[in-house]
């Protein structure tokens, strides 16, 4: 699952030698070339969509994150020019992650986020899963639905850190770099998040 573990080396569309590099396209975009920005968009939108899909399930939500991320990137291109030590892809990934985090926090303020209820079937599946410890591949759909409902009870910070660690496979240092948190804060946050998730699961025993 952690196929794109390093934000600096994540998948982008392969470039032929004739195609201009990202840095060249960024320079052209800054001079007002919209085609260059469209090319950047086409190269990186799939990766931004993948990042958004780690946190949001619905297609409309993912599209919203894509647009918001690229809009932020467009107006922050001047900042990118001063950070040539990292690639455009890594820089854009950080914007996308932060956009997801902002959106998680925004949605958490809405009351309907906590209204999701676990069905009896899902509770039974979870009890079986917890008691046997074996994963039933056929019940992946139930697991996805249940996961969405359970994670709605976690705080945005907890969910953000757990996805970064368990799905993206990032290290504490990499998460600290992305979030601008200290490494100690990331560790504490991860520890507390796992504790809260355990407590959530115990409710079904």
């Amino acid at each position: 699952m952690a196929d794109n573990s390093d934000p600096a080396t994540f998948q982008t569309q392969s470039l032929s030698s004739a195609e201009p590099a990202d840095s060249v396209l960024v320079g052209r975009t800054r001079t007002g070339d919209e085609d260059a920005f469209e090319e950047l968009f086409n190269r990186h939108r799939r990766r931004v969509a993948l990042i958004a899909s780690r946190f949001f399930r619905q297609r409309e939500q993912i599209e919203e994150i894509i647009q918001e991320s690229f809009t932020k990137a467009f107006f922050a291109l001047a900042d990118f020019s001063n950070q040539q030590e990292q690639s455009f892809a890594a820089w854009l990934a950080r914007i996308a992650f932060n956009t997801c985090y902002d959106e998680l926090r925004r949605r958490k303020r809405r009351p309907e986020s906590s209204l999701s209820e676990v069905t009896e079937e899902e509770a039974a599946w979870l009890q079986e899963r917890l008691s046997s410890g074996e994963k039933d591949i056929e019940s992946a759909a139930i697991e996805r639905e249940l996961a969405a409902k359970l994670l709605a009870h976690l705080s945005p910070e907890d969910r953000y850190v757990l996805v970064m660690l368990d799905v993206e496979g990032l290290s504490v240092a990499e998460i600290a770099g992305l979030t601008k948190w200290s490494a100690a804060k990331v560790k504490v946050r991860a520890h507390r998040a796992r504790g809260r998730l355990r407590n959530l699961l115990k409710r079904f025993m």
Partner: protein, 141 residues
């Protein structure tokens, strides 16, 4: 590793393992991601959004410019007001000692000023009577 205080039946490692699976299951959404990335008119909508954001930032910039002008104008206006007040005070002290009403109001004033001046220079009935009485007194002597 059992956490007997919190839960006697489920090992903590199992809870963590199931928790990880749940996190990964929630993030296993590649099909929707691909569909969203290939959504038609996505860049057109992005361009519209960027233009709207650009206009909003331009409006904000106008407000910031106005506030910046006000920020500079208010101290200048306050300084001018202080100078004017000080000038008024210094002029006021000079007026009380050296200037008469005539000098302040001018020779060619309005009707009101004339009344003031007339009241100041006119000879009253008492003055006339006193003058006649004193002249009569001198004549009788």
């Amino acid at each position: 590793m059992l956490n007997g205080k919190e839960n006697r039946s489920v090992p903590r490692a199992t809870l963590d393992s199931v928790g990880r699976d749940i996190i990964r299951a929630s993030a296993d959404n590649d099909r929707e991601a691909a569909a969203a990335a290939q959504s038609p008119f996505l860049f057109s909508r992005l361009r519209t959004r960027i233009n709207a954001e650009r206009e909003r930032r331009a409006e904000d910039e106008n407000w910031i410019t106005t506030l910046r002008i006000l920020w500079r104008a208010i101290p200048s206006m306050a300084l001018v007001a202080v100078f004017a007040f000080l000038l008024f005070l210094s002029t006021g002290t000079q007026t009380s000692t050296s200037l008469s009403d005539t000098a302040l109001l001018g020779e060619r004033g309005t009707g009101v000023e004339r009344v003031v001046l007339t009241d100041q220079t006119a000879i009253s009935n008492e003055d006339v009577l006193a003058t006649i009485m004193s002249e009569d007194g001198e004549a009788s002597k």
